[in-house]
Symmetry: D3
């Protein structure tokens, strides 16, 4: 059930305990992909996961602005501080839980949100407000995961499958040429860079041309399956906090 | 320019100083209207205002969850605290301003957000981060404004114009019968109620049947015109802070 | 019972549940009226309301500094941030409630405090710390209310009734000439101004000469009656929070 | 110049750099003395200090509620948290400083405020917002200081001088009999008590009968002189922060 | 039991309710004494106190950075804000209390921490998280206490007893010559200085040469005894919060 | 230069820009290893890194309590909230930077601190207070890194090299038998567990017996080399923040 389209009596009559909350970011994704990429992909994968499930799940609206200060030098990137993001997500999830939707998967489309969402999930779960875990789709697409990048092959091909008009095909080649090979500048397993522009000339990491609509469909399939499996596990899990030793 | 669909070079090449940020809420709107009403209407009116303007304007994604604890007894209503909402909006707007979009209109669809948005606008403007003002569409639709209510004639007819499928026509009569006449319980010009369920049995204030698609189109027209006029004024205004007396 | 003059055994022996907390501001009120206007008037009306009531009421000391950054360009204006003001009022009221005075009316004399006090009242009431509502006296003086302004006819005539020595009669004419007609600069029902000096040359809104001691006495009468009626309603109200739908 | 009674042009024309802000508390002072004791005494001593000075000084309204949780078991005691108190005082003082009154003495009447005020003064001074120091009157009355207590000989006799009607003379004997000899319960120079009721049966420390109006006048004289001397020193002091070593 | 050296089963099998937490500061102590003085001394005295006790006590690791902004002009001084320090200590103590060690003495080595630790102790104790009191060793060494200073005779001689290599004997004479006689610059019982460099040329207060290893041993003895006595009292105390009057 | 042992003139005369701050945690490390493991190892590796460097480096005292709520069910574990930890570390580092040590490596010994330290480093670096990066030693020990666990082969053998007395050799076998194979309970690449006791019976992950003193020495060597290399890179790096695109 899409919460945005439902009325309150619909929600009252719904017997779900599970909810999914897509969490994205509005930030640069190279010269070829839109700033809304992380919202769009998080929503699509949240929906794909819900569709695959036999249980009822409440699907909340996507949270559109995240922890993206790392891209701030690229025009159009929006962000809030990690503190504010944590508060916003935590309180939004807690409000869902008051209605009985207290097992929540945060379906995330942005790497910069990962740490903050894990912290939020722990806080909610330990405080007993809700049991919540973040699911970052590109971590759960099998071997593809190793090629993630930023505005790279995975996101680009998923967009090609979902919203082809939003991918500037005529800039793919240039995007590819100006792309960085990997995320960050590393010495002794420490990333010395804090801003993506320090290592990614045009904001892209990975080759955006190394995919296509078909790969995108496969990613959607893989991530949707993984999310459905996770939702099932979350629904069945004993979420009571353990006793002291 | 819709920020979500744009790429960063598009944004870099855009000469706007103006931005609009739709701000909504995901909350009960009676048995006939969807929880996403305030997001949907805020977005539509933001777009209507931008279209009417000759200047370029950046249109940010909508902020979907607001100050709606007053509806918390109605299933599905989401909310964050006023503190967190203020932080989220303020920081999001400040991030836009770093890119030069530092004259911002917050296009608001929810009464519960009004005070918080005014506070945010003042803070941003006085700190010199951005000049920002909130525009609440239903305050700017001429004589219609006096009939606002909640899930009442204005919101319902605007939805009928925008997304007719989301209005449960078969529940309109019941919605109308169970509706409250006005917002709150007043003694000595003080509203004694803090939660809408204290005075609105089914969450509706005003007669949702007192409108239709045509009225909705008129509202869109009126609000769009008013917003365009406001944007023009914001673009032209001397926003420097005044000197001490 | 005035708390400041009472001893703790007096308070222990008092059977009130009701308390009033005057809330003011120390801020410019034009060339003719003192910076303490909002404290003075809030106190006077709080006392007038209590006197008219047959029940016992605890009357707390006035909170003297409020949300008045809007007047900061005028010398002598004091203020705190809205966050700090909310905390200060909320915690002060919560401390009263620990002694059993848990139905509280915040008697307010300053427009800039209105939104913050409503938020505080909601927080206290929803958290179950106390049931608290703000009463802003100039909203409850019948037809006079429409002429409120700032340092205008209502405040000036009330001061003439309460503390005539504090009104500089010799500056009334000049104050009147330099006054603004209305509060703010409006486009599309949005006030574009954040600081009063943007639209009020001498800090006055409304004609301070359009009143006299007699009008002031009438205002005191009207507001006192309205407050007494409110206190009675607050004492009798079922303040338990409603159930979920 | 009393700020509350002044108009903004009066303040504009005043050449003071110095301000005094009385800071009190509304809290139990035994069965014989009023809850407003600390506000009343702080105001009186602030005024006494200003009168003795040849320079002009701005006198702000008193802050009436402080850090008094230690007296919370006694009916009528009001308090805010130390965090909120610090914010309220600091921001109020910072607002004064924007008008040029940036050398500020916080004239304090309550022991529980001492630590918090010192922290506030340090913060303001180090941040360069204002140079501010707290002055606690009963530390500056010569040999009398050693007898301070709570609701004891010093406060009682000062009240007898200032507002004799507020002292319940008929309860003085009982107050005296139920009084504690000293503040706290000490082991190894550590006070094991956090609440005054742990060691002071009726809330009194020291003998309230060991004074009279005449002693009160002497205290006023001594504290007023000390404050005037302090104000002079504050006015003359080089308040620039020192360089690094 | 030293927590840092213990394993969790050791802790589980320990029947203590008492814990000591050394709290220090890393800050200048003149040209002759190390920046770690306050950590070192707090640890030594914590251990001395525990050794003298027959009950079991858990000894936590020392908190090494405190409220020391007052020494910031002297190279190497580290500090955190009082807010952060209070949070860090309070949460650390609360975590101990979850394991049953809910009677806690904060063994403090730094004057600048005193007020903050008292506030923390009150908060923990009133909230019922733990009963906690701060013990500042140099307040509990009999007549020696009056000579405390900073990097002066007490700290220097205690270091000479504990870690003689860390005292630069060849700089003692110079340290002594450049030392201030007392802490602060006082007018009317108010310290006008906020930074130690305002009154202490080389950061020293009191004569560092007025002691020796033997005096240090005596201080250790005295403070250890006092702490042991305090721990005994804390263990035996009725720490329930008193009722309302 | 060890800050704790240095005097302020020593620090003044030191020409370092680099500082290292060891950051640990006091938390369970299984039945065989001490709660202070993460502090001890972080300090040892910090020192090993500094020794290998030709430049001068300031070595701060270790921060002993971290983000370890995940181990809270195991007796003796101490922790603070992530918010408080971030504040404490950030402000401590900022205080170092005021003395010119504004290139800082946070040498971390605890997995639970990693996300928080990265956030702190970013904040400090973007705000221009200091350039700071976290180095977590067990990420930088070559192929060993994959066997990290908790109280497992790496930490145990490092302790055997550093402080053999603190390893309970007689419990190693039991520790090994009760150990978990991996950290967490994973479904779809999401860890469903928030507390270590959910998956690690005795708090151990990995085989603590799969190492010895010699392996520990190798780890110290590897981590020390990696840290020295990192410090060199930090010293040489252009740490100015990049321009907007």
């Amino acid at each position: 059930m899409h919460l945005s389209a439902a009325t309150w009596p619909d929600v009252r009559d719904c017997e779900a305990e599970l909810a999914v909350v897509p969490v994205g970011s509005t930030e640069q994704h190279g010269p070829h992909a839109p700033l809304g990429t992380d919202v769009l992909t998080a929503e699509a994968i949240a929906d794909a996961g819900c569709e695959r499930l036999e249980r009822e799940v409440v699907r909340a609206p996507a949270i559109p602005i995240g922890v993206a200060e790392e891209h701030r030098q690229f025009p159009g990137t929006m962000w809030v501080s990690a503190d504010t993001f944590r508060d916003y997500v935590r309180e939004a999830v807690a409000s869902l839980a008051t209605h009985g939707f207290d097992r929540v998967v945060l379906v995330n489309g942005h790497g910069g949100n990962v740490d903050a969402l894990r912290e939020v999930g722990a806080r909610l779960s330990r405080d007993g407000d809700a049991y919540a875990v973040p699911f970052t789709w590109f971590d759960a697409v099998g071997d593809h995961s190793s090629e993630m990048g930023h505005g790279g092959p995975l996101e680009t091909s998923l967009l090609q499958a979902l919203e082809p008009d939003l991918v500037r095909e005529d800039r793919l080649e240039a995007a590819s040429e100006g792309a960085a090979d990997g995320w960050g500048e590393w010495v002794s397993h420490v990333n010395l860079a804090y801003d993506s522009t320090e290592f990614a000339e045009n904001g892209v990491v990975g080759d955006p041309a190394a995919g296509d609509e078909k790969r995108g469909e496969e990613l959607l399939e893989l991530a949707g399956d993984a999310l459905a499996q996770l939702l099932e596990a979350v629904a069945e899990r004993d979420v009571s906090r353990p006793d002291r030793r």
